[in-house]
Symmetry: C2
Subunit: 159 residues, 2 copies
DNA sequence: GTCAACGCTTACGTAAACGTCAACCTTGAC
DNA sequence: GTCAAGGTTGACGTTTACGTAAGCGTTGAC
């Protein structure tokens, strides 16, 4: 009776998808609220199909590249509303390119901020070297940077 | 009686500072609410000194590099709380370096997203080229990119 | 005298993406 | 029987940096 779990008929509970994609039930319900997912029901319980799973993947991919949920919904809707895949692909492509150029702009902003920050750091370092060289953070600073990196890695692994 | 407007005794109205720094009165009052500014009063009206002006400059600089108002306040407080400029400078330096490394991390995230986006774009372009090459956006896309740039420039000039 | 311009305070509204209860149902194990 | 595990639906809370009135006082121009 227990069909192959890899079969396309297979369904998923909310928890299973959450575990698989490191999401929370609250998030999936939220996406449903916003119209990005429409899982079937078994009584009250949500039952996710393979299609739903794919949509969820697309949602998370969209989030990773910085799209908002409403933008993601627009794209998702494109795939549903009509059968002409080509037109949808063209619009998706446009959206992606827009996002890419927005990200490039953001990167430039960051670079600008970094320049300003480094100038400020340089000034501070020089002044500090003049009046209180002993206060200049060095190895301690490096350690802390390492710690930050490790924290980041832990986060990436899901806490 | 009208002293030199560049003299250090000179004071500023909220509007003058707003015009000079492209801010809104609401913003300055908000900063005051949050304890970042403490202008004098003339009756009810706020009167900003040169010191206040400098603080505002620092606030806006902090914002440009992505610091939150509370972080900015911490830094500002450092300069007030005690007379030992060196220790404050050391802490500011540390804060700035932290922010710089956070920004570098952000930039890496953006680069990652850009890679993912470009892969998606490439796939879409290839598929589209196969089935509906006429739908491939080209010069139109370039025009739009230009438009985005111009909009950005306008924004930078204050609309 | 009255209208606009500027200032003030108080306070609710906004956007995004959920987190965090509360209160309840159901199913299986023991 | 009852307890835990997992599901459900509201619905309010969180954060940030202000925007946007509402309602009122003051001052200067005409």
């Amino acid at each position: 009776m227990a069909a192959d779990l890899r079969r396309p008929e297979r369904t998923f509970s909310i928890r299973q998808l959450c575990n698989e994609f490191k999401a929370t039930p609250r998030a999936l319900r939220f996406y449903e609220d916003k119209g990005l997912l429409t899982p079937a029901r078994e009584g009250l319980n949500r039952v996710y199909s393979h299609k739903d799973r794919v949509r969820l993947q697309l949602i998370l991919r969209g989030k990773r590249v910085g799209l908002s949920l409403s933008e993601i919904r627009e794209l998702l809707d494109l795939y549903d509303e009509n059968d002409d895949g080509a037109a949808q692909m063209a619009r998706s492509l446009k959206k992606f390119r827009e996002r890419a150029s927005a990200l490039e702009q953001q990167r430039e902003d960051i670079d600008g901020a970094l320049i300003e920050l480094r100038e400020a750091c340089d000034r501070l370092e020089k002044r500090l070297a003049e009046i209180r060289p002993d206060l200049l953070p060095r190895s301690a600073d490096y350690e802390q940077l390492l710690r930050a990196r490790l924290d980041g890695a832990e986060m990436a692994l899901g806490k």
